[in-house]
Symmetry: C2
Subunit: 164 residues, 2 copies
């Protein structure tokens, strides 16, 4: 007996959660003068064993490649990262500067404070459960076939129709 389809939009629910959480974290990080997205970028760059290429980092962040590219500009402008030529003349690698590492260290206690605020509100069990659920969801959705327009000859026609 299949469940009745939910009338709750999972996407919208996640988006609402994102808005609420982002405001909590941005608020906590404000004394360190950095936003949550940018802090997350620095930490995800730092976490890699070697300076990642742009496309690689974009996949880690689940960002569109072009979104990542633009999100890095403020960090580069502020001297927190450097973007250097990669092994290939096409590729570019991103690394933290000393200022970037310092910024992560500076912001870390504020980030921890936000983590604690949320963990306290939810209770440790719920927080852990949500983390696991989302991690698992990401892993699962990563396996879905990516819509690759150029591989599907019909796609271009359909797109044209949409545009009307």
């Amino acid at each position: 007996m299949p469940q009745p389809p939910s009338t709750t939009c999972l996407c919208t629910l996640v988006r609402k959660s994102d808005r609420v959480l982002n405001r909590i974290y941005d608020d906590a990080l404000r004394p360190a003068n950095i936003a949550t997205t940018q802090f997350a970028l620095l930490r995800n760059i730092q976490r890699q064993p070697s300076p990642p290429a742009l496309t690689e980092l974009a996949e880690i962040m689940r960002m569109d490649r072009t979104t990542l590219s633009r999100n890095l500009h403020p960090l580069e402008r502020d001297g927190l990262i450097t973007i250097t030529a990669g092994p290939d003349r096409r590729t570019k690698s991103v690394s933290l500067t000393p200022d970037g590492s310092a910024k992560v260290a500076e912001a870390l206690p504020f980030w921890q404070s936000a983590q604690e605020t949320v963990a306290t509100a939810l209770g440790p069990t719920n927080r852990t459960a949500i983390e696991h659920q989302l991690q698992s969801m990401l892993a699962t959705l990563d396996l879905l076939p990516k819509t690759n327009p150029r591989k599907d000859p019909d796609y271009g026609l359909r797109t044209t129709n949409y545009a009307q």
Copy 2:
């Protein structure tokens, strides 16, 4: 014995999930020529017993009031909603136009397709669990005190310091 603090940023995890889900839903909704955020707005307006005021709708969507205001512009421009004067000369109310209702009806099957894609990938149990966890998280975080700058005399000074 308290758990060791997590090194996983819950905010970033939710954001990554949001990016992935939004692309799936936007992709599914593309034939109906509407984006997920805007579809969610239409549905949340439609769901209210009476045309909500802007601030009211912003709270429902967990959006900043000014964000909502701007997000409504494309919908108004395309004739899917109307923004009329509220009971108060300060307030404005949002309602769906017939075209707006038609757009919801048109997009609904595509939205359901996205819901099914995700539900199938996750399995119904996981999908339900995530929904409940997030609903519960939202309810909990709604109870956190809102940072109200104007009520805290020190806040202005701190802000000034951040700006340096």
